[in-house]
């Protein structure tokens, strides 16, 4: 196994009763600074993968290795140490922060729970036998430093979550994750509850922390547009399986899977010139409980042919460093596009009145 792999997930499966939410997913996360995106619609299994990595839901099969060490068998203090090394930031900071705790108390609690309270900013322990008051002052300084790092005014430590904006709350959640100096951050739709202005600030913060902290992160999102500049690799999920994976730049420029094409075309664009013909996927986001025969995507795929209805396409190499699970991947890669799909938007730049 390559030395630069921090987290190695192989053939991960997670079932909820008869529903196979995650159905054999492999991905590798390099040591930081490194970003990898996990992309898909609601119900694709992307959140479940993130939770399985944190051991918040049990995996039913597969392996997860962190720094070469098996994660799924960890217990007791070693599990606690792992959970310190891998932190998660949830979509909804409203619900992931305790409404009755001031921001400072929320951050202090994490430091105390992990035995980090009172350690100086440089990592040294507070003077042994130090007075309680001195430790308290040290902890306050730690809290202030964390808030500043997350681009928040340290004075916000005395506020309650409801006194903050959505963007500020999400930055508190990030500060809380940073408190334990994690090596891997799972960011589960960290900006989808925010408006674009607050989103831009959060994404800039992640980019800065990536360099300053040498962070590795898994960014879970349904919006392809936030990935460039943040993640060098991406994994596209559909119904609990990998549809396509590879370097972000190449995947966005030349998708090999029709589902990636559809996700890309769904991104709203400001520039009229950038708007491509839209692929509207027929039908609703499917559910993992009712898996169709053949390719899981074929009922909504505008390029489906007979073989797609009967045979599950294996995930295979389509270019160096790239894999796709599609019978027509090579055709899509070389420019095959769905028929019809009128370029409505390009021709309709604000109807003249």
């Amino acid at each position: 196994m390559a030395d630069d792999i921090l987290l190695d997930v192989r053939d991960l499966r997670v079932s909820f009763g008869p529903v196979r939410a995650v159905d054999g997913i492999s991905l590798a996360i390099s040591r930081g600074p490194f970003g990898i995106a996990l992309v898909g619609e609601s119900g694709s299994g992307k959140t479940t993968v993130g939770r399985a990595i944190l051991r918040l839901v049990p995996a039913s099969a597969g392996t997860i290795a962190f720094d070469g060490q098996d994660v799924l068998g960890l217990r007791g203090p070693r599990l606690r140490a792992y959970r310190r090394a891998v932190q998660i930031v949830f979509q909804d900071a409203d619900n992931s922060l305790d409404p009755r705790m001031r921001v400072g108390a929320t951050l202090r609690e994490v430091l105390i729970a992990h035995g980090l309270a009172g350690r100086g900013a440089l990592g040294g322990l507070a003077g042994r036998g130090a007075l309680g008051g001195r430790v308290t002052a040290r902890v306050a300084a730690q809290v202030a430093a964390l808030l500043s790092e997350a681009a928040l005014d340290p004075a916000l430590a005395s506020r309650y979550p409801h006194q903050l904006s959505g963007g500020q709350r999400q930055r508190v959640a990030i500060a809380r994750a940073l408190a334990v100096s994690p090596r891997l951050l799972v960011l589960d739709e960290p900006t989808s509850a925010l408006d674009v202005t607050a989103q831009a600030r959060i994404l800039a913060l992640v980019r800065r922390l990536r360099d300053e902290r040498q962070l590795a992160y898994l960014l879970i999102t349904h919006n392809l547009a936030i990935i460039p500049g943040l993640c060098e690799q991406m994994v596209v999920l559909y119904l609990g399986r990998v549809a396509e994976t590879g370097p972000t730049d190449e995947l966005l420029a030349r998708p090999a899977h029709p589902y990636t094409l559809a996700l890309r075309s769904a991104v709203p664009e400001v520039d009229a010139a950038a708007r491509r013909s839209r692929i509207i996927l027929p039908g609703d986001t499917p559910q993992a409980g009712s898996m169709p025969p053949g390719c899981p995507f074929h009922p909504r795929c505008p390029l489906a042919i007979d073989v797609c209805r009967t045979t599950v396409p294996p995930l295979q190499a389509v270019a160096p460093g790239r894999q796709a699970a599609c019978h027509r991947a090579n055709e899509v890669l070389t420019g095959l596009r769905p028929p019809g799909a009128p370029a409505q938007l390009a021709e309709d730049p604000g109807r003249p009145r």
Partner: protein, 257 residues
Amino acid sequence: MSPAKLEVRDLRVSFAGHPVASVPELNVDGGEIVGLAGESGSGKSMTILAVLGLAGTAGAAVTGSVRLDGQELIGLSAARLRAIRGRRIAAIFQSPALAFNPVFRVGAIVSRTLRQHGLSGAEATARADAAMRSVLLSPELLDRYPAQLSGGQLQRVAIALALALRAEVLLADEPTSALDVTVQAEVLELLRELRDSRGMAVLFVSHDLAVIAELCDRVAIMRAGQVVEQGPTGQVIAAPRHDYTRELLAAVPRLRE
């Protein structure tokens, strides 16, 4: 020139004398989608509530003028307003899950609304079925509970309800912000169709200028309760005159950097 379908003039919304939204002039004509853009707290939603005559229920004071086909709505009695709100001016919101009472079947909610606006039970059923088909949903979904539908499906049911009532104006407050981008694309397509085939007047609120650029004919940019810029969407996007508009544009994530 005949008056626009919906005309807003000198609209001011305030809480205890503290102004939160001020719109000097905003017109939405039939067959037109007008965008109201700005970040959280800029006054977009309060403007929508004021047009609906609901800002008062939130404790706000409203002055100015809102006219539908020339008829003044501000100061109208609750009973007169009720006949207009929902029937002629429909609204859809960010969270369709919150807009539907979870203990009733979707169809029961839809038909009760239709009957309240004067339709007989049989008419209500027929109209609801037809409206569901026109938003590309099976009428069978009316037998389900809200929790059994996806967010995109529920949002389309909310639009179907506006269609069944033959609403002339649709107020859409961040209707796609809680949806996946793929589902968002579908709902935007549906709104475009309502504009073009039914001649609906749509006032569309969003924080995302990319969505506005794709959908709206004209746009008003709001910041801290004030309209800072207004004009044809293409022009505002291509040559923004206000710094804040430039800021909003810069915040939009792009596939190509």
